[in-house]
Amino acid sequence: MAEFIDLVLLAMLALTALRIIFLKDLFAVVMLFGIYSFLSALIFLNLDAVDVAFTEASVGAGISTVLMLVTLAITGRKEKQSTHSSLLPLFVVLVTGAALIYGTLDMPPFGHPDNPVHQHVAPRYIEESPKEVGLPNMVTSVLASYRGFDTLGETVVVFSAVIGVLSLLGVRRKKKKDLESGLESHRVLHVVAKIIIPLVILFALYVQFHGDFGPGGGFQAGVIAAAAFILYALILGLPKAFAVVGPRFLQWMAAAGVLLYASVGLYSMYMGGHFLDYNQLATDPVAGQHYGIIIIELGVGVTVFAVMLNIFYAFGSQAERSNVQ
């Protein structure tokens, strides 16, 4: 039954990808990308990879769809007709695809228990992490403790994304008050948003601090909280959203999250361990692991929230400006 569901989902995934290639309307393409992400999330869920599915659903289908839609508000929704011939790219793609398929022939059989991926470090994580880290959610212990340095790298990547966007676009505060911003006439949306937004933020906090015990963590929580503020900015307009959380404050927040993460590493070095060695944070090593993971997940959440919201501000203020002109 699970294989049948997998096959159906994969077929829908392939159909969505083909439709994306041949569509010229970029608005529809963005929507199909959201469907594509949801289908991948369902496949991950079917593979019991709940954390990855959660990330894919919240980042891939949620926030990136919104960011691409704001980009379309600046650039326009029609794809430009390309003039040059597509024979050479087709040739390159065919050769690369053939080489990749040839490469998969050497891969170990799918799902076999003797595969290297199941023999290398995974048994140690599965057997030792309940004693060493003591978290019910093993994904969080691998992500935040065993692979803490990689996760620091990911957080820095997210942080550098906002540096790139801000140095290219910048967030413009609007001077004129007279033009309509947001969806002023949508009374129903106003009421529903006021009901929904606090609940979304509450859910984000739950995901943030429940990540040790269930699926979730800093990345998903940051994205969900950013989605709540983006909803507020979309419905009430950017100026009112700036009054709640300003872009300058968000820049400080984005940097503070990365600094919080890295300073946990430095503090553990100061206490006599290695970089990001949480065992040094408390007298009991397992308690130290708990403290370390909670603090660095908070750093990740703060950075991801600030970065996503700031990128939305940058795109959104550009879009409003280009609509005025």
Binding site: L183, L189, V192, I196
Partner: protein, 110 residues
């Protein structure tokens, strides 16, 4: 328990029926407003019926509470989404089928 299973499967079948009819309507109906009507059937009644059926399968634990939360969230958000979509289309100047039909008879517009 048996009785609950029967009720749950009836609700599931009804949910599948409404979801399927919503999908058919999305493809077969002639214009935007009728299509959004069909899509909102999938959003609202099909989702409510299916989650109601799943609620009867739980043994009154944390999963029940989570499903109730999802149900409440969907009951607030999906009608709002349909409403916002229809209202935006209306404000953007999209006419209903009844309003465009007289022009069709004159052959002036498509």
């Amino acid at each position: 328990m048996d009785f609950l299973d029967i009720v749950s499967s009836i609700l599931l079948l009804a949910g599948v029926f409404f979801g399927f009819s919503g999908a058919v309507g999305l493809f077969r109906f002639p214009d935007f407003f009728t299509r959004i009507h069909a899509a909102s059937v999938t959003d609202s009644i099909a989702a409510i019926l299916i989650i109601g059926a799943l609620l009867l399968q739980t043994s009154f634990d944390l999963n029940t509470a989570k499903l109730v939360f999802i149900l409440l969230f969907l009951m607030v958000t999906s009608p709002t989404a349909s409403h916002a979509l229809a209202k935006s289309a209306r404000h953007g100047g999209l006419l209903t089928l009844a309003e465009t039909r007289p022009q069709d008879k004159q052959g002036s517009a498509k």
